[in-house]
């Protein structure tokens, strides 16, 4: 047999709908396509003509897993346009909101989506019989992340309390402080999680790419900072569209992001964030990062699960700090006046950097909106990684080869619905 086509028509444990096609000619990978066929969702066009106050609630609808990052990116971009500066208290509450989202998303991905790949199970369901305590631990952490989102955001999925200028209502101190015992448990659970996943057998594989994430001099990046790369760049968010560009590819309804000057792909997400911001992790996360046997920066996408664990520790630890010291802001929302202006912002969703840019008119209506999700930014890199990874597993059976490809894709925690935007894999051998 000289030619092989392997097709995984319905890749599981990813969010959204798409397919993966791999064509092999003997031992040479001729083609790899991450085929995203989920229809475009046209959010950018949907926002045009809307009042800017509607934007956070609409952008939250882009994703049920990471609504906070979408709505907060839009809020920051609109505030930049309006010249709104929020108070330190509002800023801390916003970081707390991110902690909640990172916890619920990372716990779900580690325990039910990605860990089964490393311990030899087809699903979280199958893994639960062998690792019930671990799966329960993950579900309990997710529950606490969701609970925080409910209290602070009004509800766990598609929060409704986020406003341009701050929050519609600041939560009561007692409401947040009741979470402290749960977060104390969560911090220990996150440490155990990270040690557990760090013990998995990872392939010796490194992608030749740039890692890209927000970076902030004083804190681990969530919703502010400049764009840092492992090439040593420090790019103001306002220059994002000069440095990065989205391109159409025939096989995907989602755009591919590349570096504008070189056309090179890059990687966003927890692996990039930890690699570029190691010294700004919370003390326990930083200490654990030094114990897990990984050299940072790390270019092995399979070890993203460890980075996700470290961020779980960080989110619980920073969340605890905010919960313990929380005083409701006297003014939960800063007032503003409409003006014709443009503004942009980048924030860190659980699965990577989101960039948004808005132009508004003097009546507060959206004239133009640009939304660049993390999965769009990772798609080109996923295809390049697969080209490098498939030759390593090319002699495996179709079933094993398909599974190995799916595993690699899942390490990116792709959110295809966000980027269009589920995955089906086809591998052709010729």
């Amino acid at each position: 047999m000289t030619e092989r086509t392997i097709k995984v028509r319905a890749m599981t444990r990813v969010e959204g709908e798409g397919g993966l096609y791999v064509k092999l000619n003997r031992d040479v990978v001729e083609d790899v396509r991450l085929e995203i066929y989920e229809p475009p969702r046209l959010f950018e066009a949907l926002l045009r003509g809307r009042m800017l106050e509607d934007v956070p609630d609409i952008t939250a609808r882009i994703c049920g897993i990471c609504p906070v990052a979408y709505q907060m990116s839009s809020v920051h971009a609109l505030e930049a346009a309006l010249g709104v500066t929020t108070s330190p208290e509002i800023r801390r509450l916003r970081r707390l909101l991110y902690c909640g989202e990172w916890i619920e998303s990372h716990a779900l991905h580690i325990y039910l989506l990605n860990a089964p790949d490393f311990v030899g199970f087809d699903s979280g369901l199958d893994m639960a019989s062998r690792f019930p305590a671990e799966v329960n631990r993950g579900l309990r952490m997710k529950k606490y992340g969701n609970r925080l989102l409910e209290i602070l955001g009004g509800r766990a999925i598609h929060p409704v309390n986020v406003a341009v200028g701050g929050f519609y209502r600041a939560p009561r101190r007692e409401a947040l402080q009741q979470l402290i015992p749960d977060f104390e448990w969560g911090l220990q659970a996150a440490i155990e999680t990270t040690r557990w996943v760090a013990g998995f057998a990872f392939p010796n594989f490194a992608c030749d790419t740039q890692l890209v994430s927000l970076s902030h001099p004083d804190e681990y990046p969530m919703n502010e900072g400049h764009i840092a790369t492992t090439a040593g760049e420090s790019i103001p968010v306002g220059s994002y569209q000069y440095e990065f560009e989205e391109r159409h590819v025939p096989h995907s309804t989602a755009l591919h992001s590349v570096r504008r000057q070189t056309g090179d792909s890059y990687l966003v997400g927890p692996l990039a964030r930890v690699s570029l911001n190691l010294d700004r992790l919370s003390p326990t996360a930083r200490q654990t990062a030094g114990e897990v046997g990984i050299t940072w920066p790390c270019f092995n996408p399979f070890q993203s699960i460890v980075a996700r664990g470290l961020e779980l520790i960080h989110a619980f630890e920073e969340g605890l700090d905010i919960l313990r010291t929380y005083d409701p802001p006297r003014q939960p929302r800063i007032e503003y006046t409409y003006k014709a202006a443009s503004g942009c912002a980048a924030t860190e969703a659980p699965r990577g950097t989101i960039y948004q840019h808005y132009t508004i008119d003097e009546e507060g209506k959206v004239v133009q909106a640009v939304i660049i999700p993390p999965t769009s930014q990772n798609q080109a890199q996923i295809e390049i990684d697969l080209r490098a990874w498939v030759p390593r597993v090319i002699h495996e059976t179709e079933a094993v080869l398909s599974r190995q490809c799916e595993n690699l894709v899942r390490c990116y925690d792709p959110c295809i619905s966000c980027s269009t935007h589920f995955l089906k894999l086809r591998i052709e051998r010729t």
């Binding site: 599981t12 444990r13 990813v14 969010e15 049920g64 897993i65 779900l108 039910l112 989506l113 699903s123 979280g124 369901l125 639960a128 019989s129 019930p132 799966v135 329960n136 579900l139 997710k142 529950k143 969701n146 609970r147 766990a156 999925i157 598609h158 619905s417």
Partner: protein, 163 residues
């Protein structure tokens, strides 16, 4: 004997007939106000894990497709092989039967689980509930309410043998 603690969860979204679970939950919240039952709305079945511990009974309401004609009502007692074999789909590949199986393997599934479902037609954004589903929703609400009240009356009267 204490009245049995029942959790009712309506699974759905704001879109068209997918609202069915949420509407049933909303109606039951009012009906069951003075009972021991707790009613919740979920967007995804995985949210069940946030609430199911310490309940003796779980009642799930959801819209479905493939059951039959629009408005048809289905009622299953878990474990229900028919549901597992149906291959329900859901976000992150964690559809309702998978979540119920997972809860069972983790020892967290309440001893009694009922699943109610109504066949929907459209689940498009900005659309309401199809007229064919209105009567079915009322039927399901009445049956769940009567079932829970009967259950609680039986357990509080120590007369479950008659129930």
């Amino acid at each position: 004997m204490k009245p049995s603690r029942t959790l009712v969860v309506g699974v759905g979204s704001p879109h068209g007939d997918d609202q069915t679970g949420w509407i049933i939950a909303e109606l039951l919240t009012k009906e069951l106000e003075s009972s021991e039952a707790v009613v919740r709305r979920a967007k995804a079945p995985v949210e069940l894990f946030d609430w199911i511990d310490d309940f003796e009974r779980l009642v799930i309401c959801d819209a479905c497709q493939g059951l039959g004609s629009v408005g048809d009502v289905g009622h299953w007692k878990w474990p229900a092989e028919e549901l597992v074999a149906a291959g329900w789909s859901g976000t992150h590949d964690l559809p309702l039967p998978v979540i119920l199986q997972l809860a069972d393997r983790l020892g967290r599934l309440p001893p009694r689980v009922d699943i109610w479902s109504i066949e929907g037609a459209v689940a498009k954004p900005l659309t309401g509930l199809s007229p064919e589903l209105q009567a079915s929703v009322s039927t399901v609400v009445r049956q769940i309410y009567a079932d829970i009240v009967r259950d609680q009356t039986c357990t509080s009267n120590h007369s479950s043998e008659h129930c």
